[in-house]
Structures are given as structure tokens and as C-alpha cells.
Amino acid sequence: MSHSQTAPTDDALLVLFANGDPLAARELTRRLAPRALGVATRVLGDRAEAEDITQEVMMRLWRAAPEWQQGQAKVSTWLYRVVMNLCIDRKRRLKHGSVGIEDVPEPVDPALSAAEKLQEHSRWDALQAALMTLSDRQRQAVVLRHIEELSNPDIARIMDISVEAVESLTARGKRALAKALAGQREELGYG
């Protein structure tokens, strides 16, 4: 499927999927699964768990396809909401919370030199480590706002809280992130 302006919406692809179109499944997977994987990885700090959640959320999407009400909810908003709920469930089950950030592989640009790759690695690690110091809700809000670039009303719908609560969580979360990273400017190549 091409990425022209006439590319079908996620809603339309779900209808095609429910009608048996195998290409619709492939396109929805290409569009949505990396997003689910990225956000779950950032929120959980555990790549293996994030992959499980990605498969689970996509399975729920396939099952929801025949009953999907077009135009009632954005597929991506629904996806993020399910990912967040699954992440909360996972965190509850993991007694000791997060897993080490060394379990999170970074998508480093292969065109970079060895030194640049090393620095990009250390920046990814530092950001993930700082994210893991936030509370679960702060981390979810910061990831959705500042990495996934969702709007505050969308985040409010996903997290089932008010827009004001989202603003508060993201502001406090970002301050906490800055504080956690403050001493690492030179190490990260920003000195």
C-alpha cells in the first residue's frame, strides 16, 4: 500500500481487515506495531515485556475489528490506551518494578561513526534511566506528550484523567527529568 494522500485511514483498514483483506493486516502492523513497541519499551524499560505487549495489543485490535465503530475513536488513541493499561498490569505483576535499561536496545543510526554511535547509545541510556526515575503516571504522560507528541486532550482520554492533570504530570515529569540529567551534560556531549 502506498503512502500517498489517498492512503486509507486506520479505520478503513480495520474494515478491510474484517472483510478478509490480508494487506490491511500488513499495513496496520507496519503503522501501529512500532508505535506500540516504542511506547511500551519507554514506559516499561523492558524490551521483552514490551514485545509481548505489542503482540497482545495487536491481537486485541484484530479481535476488535468486526465491531469497530468508524469515526467514534481514533485507532491510535485506542491502541495507546490499551498499551498503557497492559503496561500498568505488567508493572503490577513485576514485583520489583523496572528492569535494567541495558535490556532496552536503542535504534541507533547505522550511518554514524563509532564515536557518534557510542554517544547516541549513552544518550538513549541516560534518557531511559531518567525516565525510569519518574512515577509510572508521570512517565506515561511524558512519553505520550514529548516522545509520541500527542495532544493533551488525547493523553487525557488515553490515561482517563483531566487535561489539567495531564499538564501537571508532564510539567512535573519534565522538571524531574531535567533534574535527573542535570549532572550529565558533559558526559552526554552537551557540555
Partner: protein, 125 residues
Amino acid sequence: MADKDTDFTELDALLDLARQKEPDLPAGLEQSILADAAAVQAELQQHSRADARSVSRPWWAQVLSLFGGAPALGGLGVACAAGVWVGLAPPAFLPDPLQMFEQVQSSSDVDLFDTHDVVAFLVEE
């Protein structure tokens, strides 16, 4: 998106870095997701075929299925035939229903009013 506060400059650069790249979907995970999708699609197609079959059946076949299908209806027919047979040619130890019917008919001749008395009364008047 970026805050104007200079204290956040490095953080914004880091968040920019995180935004630039979505994680690659591992090939194994992608295959598992697509296999799940194919399984769900096959299930959906099976359901829709079954629905289509039930809609395209003639009315008498749908009524037949209400009674449990041909085997159930066959059983019902045999039970009815057995009932009629027992009614027409009952076993020796059962009373003959035809005789019972005749008895009921003759018992209907009972004179509820004593008509002789009524006629005698009217004649006297």
C-alpha cells in the same frame, strides 16, 4: 513543543533524539503479529460463511431446524404414529377407546329436567 526555559535545552535535544526514530519491529514479532491476524481473519470468514448459509436456506429448512432438524422431526413422526396405532388397536390389557367413546355418547341422554312433570304441569294449566 520545546520549552523556552534554557535549563531544558539538553532535555529537549534528548527528547528530539528519542522522537526521531521508531524502534524497528523485530522480524519474528512481525511474523507472530501477522500470523495472529491471519488466524483471526480465518475465524471471521468462517463465521460470515456460516451466517450466509443460514440466511440463504429456504423457509421450510429454517422451520425444520427450529424443531431440531430432520432426525428430531423423524422421532416426532414415529411417536405420533405409535400413538395413533395404540389408539386404534390397543393391547388387550387396555380399555378399548372406541367403546369408551360410545359410553360417553349414551350417557349424554340423561334428562336434566324431568320433562314428564313439566308437560303434565303445562297440561293441567
